[in-house]
């Protein structure tokens, strides 16, 4: 339940929100827990919020792990 999904910030928007790219899909999230995040940075998203700023390598590793865990569902 506490797993985070990595996304790249592609647009900083009003009211503490941002548009992120998650594995090719774009979605809007809140960045109120990571107000210092900048355009182009990667974040770990949990329950619609960026909970931590991470580097690209961590983002790629986490997405890899997530896809492995998702196979469990199939």
């Amino acid at each position: 339940m506490c797993l985070g999904v990595p996304g790249k910030v592609v647009q900083i928007m009003e009211h503490g929100s941002a548009r992120v790219d998650v594995d090719g899909n774009q979605t809007d999230i809140s960045i109120k827990l990571t107000p210092e995040v900048e355009l182009g940075q990667f974040v770990l998203i949990h329950a619609g919020f960026a909970m931590e700023i991470i580097d690209q390598q961590v983002a790629e590793e986490t997405m890899y792990l997530l896809k492995e865990l998702l196979q469990y569902e199939e």
Partner: protein, 358 residues
Amino acid sequence: MKNDNKGYMQQLLQEIQAETMEVSLMEVCGTHTMAIARSGIRGLVPSNLKLLSGPGCPVCVTAQGDIDAVIELVRDSGITLLTFGDMMRVPGTESSLQEERSKGADIRVVYSPLDALAAAKSLPDREVVFLGIGFETTAPAVGITVEEAMENGIHNFSLFSLHKLVPPALELIFSDPDINVDGLICPGHVAAVTGVEPYRLLAEKYSKPCVVTGFEAVDILEGVVMLLRQLHQDKATVEIQYRRVVKKEGNLVAQATLEKVFQATEARWRGLGSIPGTGLELRRAYEKMDARKKFGVREIEDVPIKGCACGEVLTGKITPHDCALFGKGCTPLRPIGPCMVSQEGACAAYYRYTPLRD
């Protein structure tokens, strides 16, 4: 597994396999439970090294009486309840949220608490209740949502908080003489919020090593090796294996949100009972949004489920295979206890990856 990790993983595994001490290590995170089961690590470690699953899945530790109280609330036709998908199938005494929905209750699954706030805005004539569940990782997101509801005057939104805190519950594990745990594989994303201080205090108070660990197989192996090395050196301190994400101080904005919106209260844990200071309720300034107070929700006693050993499983006293119902009557399709409901539950993970052999 990534190829560049293979050599390092073999090296870690060799060190673990050479271990001769009797050691029990506990993980307290549903994602660790899944990752350990999926990777087959449990089958690769020597029999003297036990990897136990603790109370790390927020769904699994939800008390039956709390589910019953939520069910009583949603039977009121004016209420729309929103929650995370995992909660739908958790069995109460007689029913589950899924069953209530099939009987006509307005219950919806959301991904984010902000979706619940959006629902409240679009349904001004209904009372919209968000059933909040989760540990320190999730609670700050819910805290921000409550603040936003308050700031925007969304009076038909409220929170039914089942949020819980991990470190104080671990005190109970460490202080129970019936639970033998030598070291803790600590939850990476909970620590990303809290920082390592709560675990440092635990490690020092109970003389048990704690390692904040990530979720890949290589992370878990490295976390286990770090714990074993501490045990061999008679050390009991906190270390961070998951340095890629966890900062020593944690997420200060998230901590400030938790502190501002919530206060610690007594919470009921399945298998552990009521523990003071392990739940989160809204502070007085936000109590108009506390669904329990707003709708006068009553406390409902827990009625033990006959034969269900989730309590013993959650505290590492037995493994899922030792439960008489495991695989016989209790399966992921028809779960009897919550550890079989959530995919992160110890029983569900065992069922998928280490089924009973005849």
